[in-house]
């Protein structure tokens, strides 16, 4: 019976609304007081039923909920034969709950989209060797699963046969399909675009990367900041206090009308829902844009950020050196490039890889002899020619004459922070290449946006020499840049900012050797391609290590923090206004109070919903 009534709450609201309409038309239109009284009394009894049941259940577990206040108020109004008030208050309360439910679902929609991407079933190999469809919960580590074209990968695993291409957007945010073959790792929640594969399950359920992302987001949206915990504690004592106040007013003034009005007006209403709504909408927006925010504490800190500290290699730069500038001298350059590639092919030096990648397709010649000159480079015999590949010192040792033009180029390349690779053929300089770790495309614009959003200092810390660091810093327009720093120097630097300068600091690093700094900073952001480490160590996770999501993340946390404050102001303002007007005005009554309450709840939810559409202005 109780459950039947509760599950029909929305119908009850509708019927009680109709009864109220009948009551008022007969009273005002037909002057028929008897019908009016009966209709309104019926609406009250019907409407209060689900509220009273909820109140009873709450009291059973020792909670004085809003339902308790409303039930007492309605019963009181009924008792003094004020059916008009009792009917309207119950109707507004039920109808308000209905609207809250609808709008609240909207604010949660972004995260729901994410969780609905979770795989539900899998084709599992049974003891007889056949594949059978089972629920994803029934898959254990080590099981063999079959995945067909168009299906979701059910668990994290390794491909054991077949090949195909997989869209990993749900994990990495990257929408280009990745091809997979035997031995490749596949992730739960990603989609097999074409091909058929068999995989062995390595991690299942909540242990998969996707499972961890979902758990993180779910916990984040319900995590509470200090302010929220305060409101919760406050609300716990607030409702009983309102009840007590109502009773005291009744005892001393013997005015039931006033006492029950206080019960309705004192409902905490928008206060308890305002902040969570902003939180869930903000985190939902982030999840849609590849930014996972770990809870409202993170939102609070990040929105008040003073200083952002970056690791250089792999964060601001791509992390793999490549040829940035090159110059050719004299004739037969193609031939010289072929010789260079042939020599570099034998080497595993990082610069050699960059050079080879830059040359690309060429004609390789057999290398007849090689001699490695320590601190210089390589001297080799290729096709009867003497080839020297290395730095300026090696050229001098080989007696290669450098023209004025070449000397100027070398100076220029060095100033730009390049490592130099010179190539001579038979004692004549042919090729000059400048190799450096290049800045990530778009980073400069992103840093500018961060600055515009109010980050005061952009600092770079790096293990590289100060010269290289200065070049990058100048190019990016950073506030400060420090080179020659070990991981412990970096964390000491951050500690000083936090403890001595009382700044709010974020650290962006690769998540592997910078973990002390990540842990120390108020906000740690690891740039590790959506991996476990990045997810676990970061306070803000950027999907696919996409640096360009950083400004969005910062803008979003600022908007969310603002939104929370607005909602608190609205909620507190409404309660103060209502309580003040009951004592100082003539027109305030239960119905108006309930209307204002329900309206304020909708206002804070709608305000929170704005965050779902938040986008950083370019």
């Amino acid at each position: 019976m109780q459950r039947f009534i509760l599950s029909r709450k929305n119908h009850i609201a509708l019927i009680s609304g109709i009864l109220i309409a009948i009551g008022f038309t007969s009273a005002l239109g037909f002057k028929n007081e008897i019908v009016a009284v009966w209709a309104l009394a019926a609406a009250s009894v019907l409407g209060v039923a689900p509220i009273a049941i909820q109140a009873y259940q709450a009291l059973k577990v020792k909670v004085v909920s809003i339902d308790v206040l409303v039930t007492i108020a309605v019963v009181g109004a009924f008792f003094i034969r004020n059916f008009e008030e009792s009917a309207i208050v119950t109707f507004l309360f039920l109808f308000g709950a209905f609207l809250e439910q609808r709008t609240l679902n909207k604010t949660r929609s972004a995260i729901k989209e994410l969780t609905e991407m979770a795989p539900e079933s899998a084709l599992k190999q049974m003891a007889n060797g056949e594949f059978e469809e089972v629920e994803v919960d029934e898959v254990d580590v080590g099981d063999i699963l079959l995945v067909k074209t168009g299906a979701k990968i059910p668990v994290d695993g390794t491909v054991i046969s077949g090949e195909g291409s997989i869209n990993e957007a749900s994990i990495t945010g990257e929408s280009l399909p990745v091809s997979k073959e035997k031995g490749s790792t596949v992730f739960a929640g990603t989609i097999l675009d074409n091909g058929t594969i068999q995989i062995a399950a390595d991690r299942v359920g909540e242990d998969t990367t996707f499972g961890k992302i979902i758990e993180l987001v779910e916990e984040a949206q319900d995590s509470k900041s200090e302010a929220e915990r305060f409101i919760d504690r406050f609300a716990k004592y607030y409702t009983p206090a309102v009840l007590l106040l109502g009773i005291l007013v009744w005892v001393f003034s013997q005015n039931i009308e006033l006492a029950i009005t206080i019960l309705v007006l004192g409902c905490p209403g928008a206060l308890v829902i305002g902040v969570p709504v902003s939180n869930v909408a903000g985190i939902g927006n982030g999840a849609r844009h590849g930014v996972l925010l770990k809870g409202s504490e993170v939102i609070g800190d990040f929105s008040r950020l003073d200083t952002m500290v970056f690791d250089k290699t792999g964060t601001l730069t791509l992390g793999n050196p490549s040829v940035a500038e090159k110059k050719y001298y004299g004739d037969n350059i193609d031939e010289a490039l072929g010789f260079l590639a042939s020599v570099e092919r034998e080497s595993d030096h990082p610069l050699a890889k960059a050079v080879l990648a830059d040359i690309g397709e060429t004609t390789f010649s057999p290398v007849e002899s090689t001699e490695v000159i320590k601190g210089g480079g390589i001297v080799a015999g290729v096709g009867g020619h003497r080839i020297a590949v290395g730095n300026v010192a090696l050229m001098e040792r080989e007696g290669v004459e450098l023209s004025e033009q070449a000397k100027a180029d070398i100076a220029h390349f060095e100033k730009n922070g390049n490592s130099l690779v010179l190539t001579s053929v038979d004692g004549e300089l042919k090729i000059l290449m400048g190799v450096r770790d290049q800045i990530r495309p778009g980073v400069k614009e992103d840093l500018l946006r961060l600055k515009r959003l109010g980050v005061k200092n952009l600092v770079m810390l790096s293990g590289d020499n100060q010269g290289t660091v200065d070049v990058v810093s100048r190019e990016l327009g950073l506030t400060e840049a420090h080179g020659n720093m070990l991981p412990e120097d970096k964390s000491a630097y951050i500690k000083r900012l936090i403890e001595e300068e009382k700044q709010i600091v974020a650290f962006v690093g690769d998540g592997v050797n910078d973990s002390p700094s990540l842990a120390l900073a108020h906000i740690g952001i690891a740039m590790g391609s959506g991996t476990d480490v990045a997810i676990e160590t970061s306070d803000v996770v950027l999907m696919n290590s996409d640096f360009s999501r950083l400004p969005h993340a910062l803008g979003l946390t600022k908007a969310t923090a603002r939104n929370m404050k607005q909602n608190i102001v609205i909620a507190v303002g409404v309660v103060l206004f209502l309580l003040a007007s009951v004592f100082f005005s003539e027109w305030m009554n239960m119905s108006i109070g309930m209307l204002v309450h329900e309206a304020s709840i909708l206002v804070v939810i709608l305000n929170g919903m704005r965050l779902l559409r938040y986008k950083l202005r370019k």
Binding site: D137, E219, P276
Partner: protein, 77 residues
């Protein structure tokens, strides 16, 4: 000790959270410290002693409060 996650019907009022939390904590065998009601994802998470009670007991207590249980999962801790 086992770890349970119960997926509830959509929760819409913050006071529901308190009711469910108190109801779960009042059952003996449930680790009070571990009880967590996730309002937005409408989930109840808690650790319990499987010698003293089963997850069905908790489900029953919550259904009695008027909230539907959609799915529950128990894992060894």
């Amino acid at each position: 000790m086992k770890k349970a996650t119960i997926q509830l019907d959509t929760l819409t009022c913050p006071s529901c959270v308190q009711k469910i939390e108190n109801a779960t904590k009042s059952l003996s065998g449930v680790d009070k410290e571990s009880v967590k009601v996730l309002f937005n994802s409408s989930k109840l998470k808690f650790d319990f002693d499987d010698d003293k009670l089963s997850v069905e007991d908790v489900e029953k207590a919550i259904t009695a409060l008027g909230y539907d249980v959609k799915k529950s999962q128990v894992k060894a801790k």
